[in-house]
């Protein structure tokens, strides 16, 4: 995974020395900066996405980002701008599209699947038009931490700041609208406008996450950390904080592992995030078992059955 000519890094066993080695190269410092920014934004927005059960929308947006990145590379602009353009455009498209009600869920799936495959095919077309790019396709799909420039870090940071600022403003009403849309509507919360705004923010977050994990593995930063946190605690503030913490940890560990091993970052980040998710399931099961006798009388409570089911 390393640039040619660099001395191959090896673990010394000395933690301080290993961490120092990580930051020897500027590209690695930039990778950590970018990863940190992305993990925070993806965590916050992913938390709401999981709450709103829109995880496949996030996946679709990221898939649409792939031809954007490939096209941008073909045109000689940075892949990052391609991700942003296509993800946000797709978010607007999904938000504006009249939902195909009446014909049923199944046809909607067929349409979503076809369009997703078509966008991936477009990405493939751009890649084959751009000769000699075959190595790049893997980094677009499965992530890469090499060659992130200072300017890209600034762009990531500005976009993340805008996204987080917007979330700070609309967080409370969005939480309300996500938990109970009907009541929120009755209390004159602009549910539909919030939904559209959130989809666009989701587009931004998917684009940023694609930069680290690639288009196909955005679940690792957008879905797995929030899903893990939401299993561990049900209080919004603490699970949101936990999400960001898990996201950061997973990203940093992934970057370090990818630096010290020949294997790609996408693999490491998904593996760490998935391990955290599995652990939370085990911990969650343990909690339920210990609490079970206490909870038993109030089985009617809404949150209990969903936990016991799993």
């Amino acid at each position: 995974m390393l640039v040619a000519g660099a001395a191959s890094p090896s673990l010394t066993g000395n933690l301080v020395e290993d961490v120092r080695q990580l930051f020897v190269y500027p590209f690695m410092v930039n990778a950590f900066r970018a990863g940190t920014i992305v993990a925070v934004l993806a965590g916050v927005i992913g938390w709401f996405m999981v709450l709103r059960k829109q995880s496949f929308a996030g996946h679709t947006l990221a898939v649409v980002g792939f031809p954007g990145a490939a096209g941008a590379t073909l045109l000689g602009i940075g892949a990052l701008y391609g991700y942003f353009t296509f993800c946000v455009a797709a978010a607007v498209g999904i938000a504006l599209l009249p939902s195909a009600r009446g014909r049923g869920f199944s046809e909607e799936n067929a349409i979503t699947g076809t369009i997703g495959a078509f966008f991936l095919a477009c990405g493939f077309l751009f890649i084959s038009l751009y000769k000699g790019f075959l190595d790049g396709v893997n980094s677009l799909l499965f992530g890469s931490f090499l060659g992130i420039t200072n300017q890209q870090v600034v762009v990531l940071a500005v976009v993340a700041a805008v996204g987080l600022g917007a979330m700070a403003l609309m967080g409370r009403p969005l939480l309300f609208a996500s938990i109970d849309a009907d009541v929120a509507q009755a209390r004159s919360v602009p549910v539909r406008a919030l939904g559209v705004a959130f989809l666009i923010l989701l587009g931004l977050a998917a684009a940023e996450a694609s930069q680290i994990t690639g288009s196909l593995l955005v679940f690792a930063l957008l879905v797995m950390p929030p899903a893990t946190a939401q299993r561990l605690t049900t209080r919004p503030a603490s699970s949101l904080a936990l999400t960001v913490g898990i996201g950061l940890l997973v990203t940093w560990l992934g970057l370090a592992a990818a630096y010290y091993s020949p294997y790609p970052i996408g693999f490491w980040v998904t593996t760490f995030a998935f391990a955290a998710y599995l652990l939370s399931h085990l911990a969650g099961a343990g909690l339920v078992r210990r609490r079970a006798p206490v909870v038993a009388p109030s089985v009617g409570r809404a949150d209990v059955p969903s936990r016991v089911d799993r």
Binding site: S106, I111, G113, S128, V223, F267, T271
Partner: protein, 299 residues
């Protein structure tokens, strides 16, 4: 005029005279027929995303086989059929939610990325395009024996689906009634998911793991829109898939910078969207005219 015709005729002979084109047509036709047929049932049973999940598995299975130095197709079929059957055992306990399914398959894909790296860095015979070929297909790269094997497996899929078609249709439309009538609903569903796995592996050879969803969903979605009669729709889905594949192959032959899998997907998407728009417009026109209210209501 005659000269032009002759030129076109010569072009066609030249195109179909190419061995790679013949192999692609042999394999592609059979694969498309199987995909259309299986896709019809996937859409009917609302299991389109099973195919999506299997596409991730197909990638990882194929690259794991390459990384360990076995035949790619072996890994492909073992992984997709195995996971298909495994999903079949989970089915009756209700659908797992998006987050669980998505996380598991994202991790599987991450594992695929690992195998890709192992393969391209450790195998001296490895070439950098293996990953791309698995992801996006290389139908023009099929050898004669590969093409005939793929065709034979596809014919097998069509035969199996043909055998279980009646009970499968019955249990897809109304599982409870079918169960009450003594149809082995669970067994049929299980067999079907195994067949879907095999079909996913086949489609991977034609258009690649990432795009197989399009080959399965687009012709089937269009057929579902065009007719409500099951047998007609099944035949139509297969016919559409074959036609789209041929059109894609020819397009890609004439425009060499256009990869065949892109051309196939582009034609399939265009046909599906066209059918959606036409039936939408026609449906609206019928809904407005008071003469055929029954037809409109049925939509």
């Amino acid at each position: 005029m005659t000269a032009e015709l002759l030129a076109i005729q010569g072009g066609l002979v030249g195109m179909f005279g190419q061995p790679f084109m013949q192999n692609a047509l042999v394999a592609g036709t059979c694969i498309a027929a199987a995909s259309g047929l299986v896709g019809y049932f996937l859409v009917l049973r609302s299991q389109v995303f099973t195919a999506d999940a299997l596409s991730h598995v197909a990638f990882t299975g194929a690259l794991a086989a390459l990384a360990f130095g076995i035949d790619l197709r072996l890994g492909l079929f073992v992984a997709t059929v195995g996971v298909g059957l495994f999903m079949g055992t989970l089915e009756p306990r209700g659908r797992a939610d998006d987050v669980v399914v998505g996380s598991v398959f994202a991790w599987v894909l991450g594992l695929g990325a690992l195998f890709l790296t192992i393969y391209s860095t450790s195998r001296s015979t490895g070439n950098g395009t293996a990953g791309v070929n698995v992801l996006f297909g290389s139908i023009f790269g099929l050898s004669r024996s590969q093409a005939w094997t793929a065709a034979a497996v596809a014919v097998g899929i069509v035969v199996v689906v043909g055998i279980v078609a009646r009970p499968l249709l019955f249990s897809s439309i109304d599982a409870d009634v079918a169960d009450a009538r003594g149809v082995p609903v669970r067994l049929i569903g299980f067999i079907f998911l195994g067949v879907v796995g095999a079909c996913a592996a086949e489609a991977t050879q034609a258009v690649g793991a990432l795009l197989l969803l399009g080959l399965l969903a687009a012709p089937a979605g269009a057929a579902h829109r065009l007719t409500g009669r099951p047998v007609v729709a099944m035949v139509l889905a297969s016919a559409l898939a074959i036609g789209e594949l041929w059109a894609g192959l020819v397009l890609s032959y004439w425009v060499p910078s256009m990869p065949p899998s892109f051309a196939i997907l582009a034609v399939a998407t265009a046909v599906f969207l066209g059918v959606l728009i036409v039936t939408q417009v026609r449906g609206r026109a019928q809904a407005e005219s008071p003469v055929v209210p029954v037809e409109a209501a049925r939509r």
